[in-house]
Symmetry: C2
Subunit: 237 residues, 2 copies
DNA sequence: CCCCGCCTCCCCATTTATGGGGAGTTATAA
DNA sequence: TTATAACTCCCCATAAATGGGGAGGCGGGG
């Protein structure tokens, strides 16, 4: 582990409030001498939290415009396992180009690197660094620090979860095997009649399982139950 | 980064087949002088792959008994973000105790440490080390190597994905904003009538969006479409 | 032993979703 | 300009899901 990470992790131990986290993020920015550092988390229940060094006006504007829906960094990160360089993302639509222009006007550098972080319950977070640099130096910069950023993203996320009270482990009445199977089949697009056949039970019984799974998950209808189960990783498609 | 990790990552560069990966896992076991090392992955589409040092009979028996359903390590890991010590898991049911007894008979050590790994599309994997050791030494052992295991789990998973051909990023015809919104509302459990109200369109129009989203996603029905969209991260609940 | 949760089966009536048609506007890209 | 795709609205008939009942067997934990 690099000395830089070690020092940051030490400081992380005493990070106990959102303000601490904010200044830790700024500390990371200073340590790595980048323009910006961003930590942004979306929990399974839709609650968002971020600690970042962008200009507040840009953050407000971004949220106002609902840019999560079209920001290539977010859209790309959700579909990837590996950390990614912003250059390799798809910027080839007018709206995205426009977004890029606005971002740069807001003081963002031309280079970016983001680490996707996934937790239970469909929790998703991003740890990004951003700065102005030419391509060659940037490639070297990110390459040498890839492991640092990986570790930092993990520990920062863990700490943020602890501070915001996101429970690390998940409390939900567990689904019974049959309920689980029923939701899994539903998620695969099977019709009730076929699921009943496959599970070798009557369609009536199947209904009981779907209903009780719905109840346990607090879902309004079957689609909702399946969506919750999938997003929480209870059923894997 | 520790020298050990560095050497393993170097070797990882030339790991190009499943056999290579198997021997890499054995190499990790030897490097850290543990009893066992396990990498086990379940892709979004349900395909499983593992590279591990357990006795083949135990692996076969485990799969045969469908022990993923009750193995506290798996059940615990799915609900956690942090790596975990096996001691802290719930072993307090007869079936689980029985499982533990069988595992130890099969040559597993009394101590274990597992790192959960999550990828896009509901991909989930585990990287575990196992050995015989007393509690104090084990606590020290895992504590000192926590970062190593974190990095190893990431890079091993990435490599395994590459070898098994799991696509890192997903190509799919993009959903239009209205289609996206429709699926998002459906995932939140709203009924069509209310969604139409919220989107300020007629229910007929809403149907057109749901249908075209279904078509684009290749889904059999609405529930399927929502499940796919959620599991692929196209819509975030 | 008893309770609780799981598993299984059935009925009725109502609401909702789906299948299969058609049609017009607007904006953007080739 | 001419597609192409997104966005909007409508009808009819059938299939599927939901709400609200009830009931019995089986196994594990307190």
């Amino acid at each position: 582990m690099s000395a830089k990470v070690e020092k940051i992790l030490e400081r992380l131990q005493t990070t106990n409030t959102l303000d601490d986290l904010q200044s830790l993020i700024e500390h990371i920015r200073d340590t790595y001498d980048t323009e910006h550092v961003v930590y942004h988390s979306v929990s399974g229940s839709g609650q968002q939290y971020g600690a970042l060094t962008y200009a507040p006006e840009w953050v407000d504007y971004y949220l106002e415009q609902n840019y999560t829906r079209l920001d290539p960094v977010v859209l790309g990160a959700i579909k990837q396992f590996n950390p990614m360089d912003w250059k390799r993302l798809d910027w080839n639509t007018p709206t995205k180009r426009n977004f890029l222009g606005e971002a740069i006007s807001a003081g963002l550098g031309n280079q970016g690197y983001s680490v996707p972080i996934r937790g239970p319950n469909g929790q998703f977070a991003l740890f990004s660094v951003n700065m102005d640099m030419n391509d060659d130096r940037w490639a070297k910069f990110t390459n040498e620090r890839a492991s640092d950023f990986l570790l930092l993203s993990h520990y920062v996320h863990e700490r943020a979860n602890r501070i915001t009270g996101e429970t690390d482990s998940f409390t939900m009445r567990d689904l019974s095997p049959r309920e689980h199977d029923a939701l899994a089949f539903l998620g695969m697009g099977e019709a009730r009649s076929r699921i009943a056949e496959k599970m070798k039970i009557s369609e009536h019984t199947l209904r009981v399982y779907i209903d009780s799974a719905r109840f346990k998950l607090g879902a309004a209808n079957t689609t909702h139950a399946v969506a919750l189960a999938v997003s929480r990783g209870v059923v894997v498609l």
